[in-house]
Amino acid sequence: MFSSIAKSSTILSRSSFRLFLRAQSTNALTKTQLPFAYSPTGPASIKYTTQHEWLATHSDKTTFLGITKYAADALGDATYIELPEIDTEVEAGDSISSVESVKSASEIYFPIKGTVVEVNENLIENPQLINIDPMGSGWIAKIKIDDEKDLVSKDLLELEQYENYLKNHTEE
């Protein structure tokens, strides 16, 4: 299931391709949607986890959380998204949500400390938004993080690193 994708990520690793990749990768944020367009200049930082979550952090510490295109494709049609309660204080590594698809309940983690300020209520009626636009309108939660310094961690990957991770960790 997880092995079927990542075909779009065959041309990575060479730095000259990086800009090209940023424009082409299906795991890049959708620029027209709120997670990117929340601030006029776009997010200050976009990070990925090896558990296939993305975090888009804006300059006011507002961070959008979602799952990558790779994960959404691997999971298949989403039937239900369990959303966190607003005002929940999240500890680093807490499971704050889950996505159900074809009988799988997949836990969604938030890797740093923060407080949930908003959830994407569109997902309640339209869980398939996760499949249609996981990197944009299918965002899961908006979380105010405690400290931007927490974003500097070897476990939080840049897009290139994430694509490389996919290349090395999925069976063809």
Binding site: Y80, A105, E107, I124
Partner: protein, 413 residues
């Protein structure tokens, strides 16, 4: 006394099995012997014997011995590297699911994270007492005839994994295959399971069993022998668990799940997960639960052998495979705080009734005119136009009395 109970166990196993035709003379003598002894026993002993018979069949392994482990030994086994098979002798669905969750959360990931590295695959087998089990994100009352289940003393269970509603009994084997998230597929385990079953009985089963893309096992493409559900998470781990109907009392299962037509006058709205209805059947051929349990255990030992990490206990009596040891424990007697806490959570009304998504139920003709509505969040009524129904009432409590008080019901009688 011990010897007697062993006979009693064996006997109840046979009694439970519908194939009474295979009763031998020896069994008849045992039956007579038990009758004579029964008459001589005190009332207290009789009731304890009945209790024993009511606890369902015991798995009496013939081909190997599963090493019994203590709570401490089990904790070490689970948290250290290595593949193994674990049997639970408990038939409590909450305790078994709690142990399964512990196994899932504490199985170590492979040291190397490359796709080809050896994983700590584990197989957990258990049988539950009769119970109704629903998926994590389902509306309990839409799936299960709750009043009938309560009347029959059948426990209601909400799983931690996704998927639909299913009824368990002693003729059904539950398996859980714990593996890693990377490279996880919905069909890996069921494909193997189908092969083990066909190899065991090719005459009856060849080309009839199929592992479907949804992780189910079907017979002749029309009937389901078992369902599946999955959990992905816990830092890179995943499990696939499912059921295999071997010798279930299928006629008794039927009325416990709501019919696909629903209840006249009742309309549900909510974003929960619907069950996919299927015709079910037992595994064809003459197979006891014990023998299929052994087939699954030995199939796993064979297909998952060859890991250098495996810890082989010095006194292992397993002679089938020294590579994948078999352990046995009682999930209801473990002194592992996390297992006990999870079991307590799974038993709580907060989880069983209050879990799952918010929903609304609409009552219309032929039940009522004018129409009535109830909105429920976390199992608690948060909005309604039914006069005399207080906000904050648990929906479970409303359902218990709604027919008598309001003339409304969510279950068929």
């Amino acid at each position: 006394m011990n010897v007697f109970f062993r006979i009693g166990d064996k006997f109840s196993d046979k009694l439970y099995c519908p194939r009474l035709i295979h009763f031998t003379y020896i069994h008849t003598y045992i039956y007579i012997y038990i009758n004579i002894v029964l008459q001589a026993l005190t009332l207290q002993t009789v009731s304890s014997l009945i209790k024993k018979e009511k606890s369902g069949p015991s798995i009496m392994l013939k081909n190997y011995i599963a090493k019994q482990v203590t709570s401490d030994e089990l904790r070490t086994l689970i948290t250290c590297s290595g593949r193994f098979v674990l049997h639970s002798v408990s038939k409590d669905p909450y305790d078994n699911l709690a142990l399964e969750d512990y196994l899932f959360r504490h199985t170590p990931l492979p040291e190397s994270t490359s796709a080809t590295s050896v994983k700590n695959n584990r197989l957990f087998l258990y049988i539950n007492n009769p119970c109704c089990v629903i998926g994590r994100n389902q509306l309990l009352w839409r799936e299960v005839n709750v009043s009938r289940a309560i009347a029959q003393g059948i426990p209601l269970v909400r799983r931690l994994s996704g998927g639909g509603a299913v009824v368990h009994d002693w003729g059904n084997i539950n398996y859980a295959h714990v593996t890693t998230r990377d490279g996880f597929t919905r069909t890996e385990f069921t494909t193997k399971l189908v092969r083990w079953l066909v190899e065991r009985d090719p005459t009856t089963l060849y080309s009839r069993l199929q592992a479907t893309d949804r992780g189910d096992i079907t017979l002749d493409g029309t009937h389901k022998l078992g369902g599946s559900a999955f959990k992905i998470g816990a830092r890179g781990r995943a499990y696939h668990h499912g059921t295999l109907l071997v010798d279930s009392q299928l006629d008794q299962i039927k009325g416990l799940l709501q019919s696909s037509q629903g209840i006249p006058g009742v309309t549900w709205t909510g974003s929960g997960v619907d069950s996919v209805r299927a015709h079910v059947t037992n595994l064809p051929g003459s197979h006891s639960v014990t023998s299929i349990w052994e087939t699954i255990t030995m199939g796993f030992q064979r297909d998952f052998a060859g890991s250098a990490n495996n810890h082989v206990p010095p006194n292992s009596s397993s002679h089938i495979s020294q590579h994948v040891p078999v352990y046995s424990c009682n999930a209801s007697k473990l002194q592992i705080a996390e297992v006990q806490e999870t079991a307590q959570k799974l038993r709580s009304a907060d989880w069983v009734h209050g879990g799952g998504p918010p929903f609304s139920v609409h009552f219309g003709p032929p039940q009522t005119m004018p129409e009535r509505n109830v909105a429920v969040r976390h199992g608690i009524i948060c909005a309604t136009d039914i006069v005399g129904l207080a906000l904050g009432t648990p929906f479970a409590e409303f359902c218990r009395t709604s027919r008598a008080v309001h003339g409304l019901g969510v279950d068929s009688l």
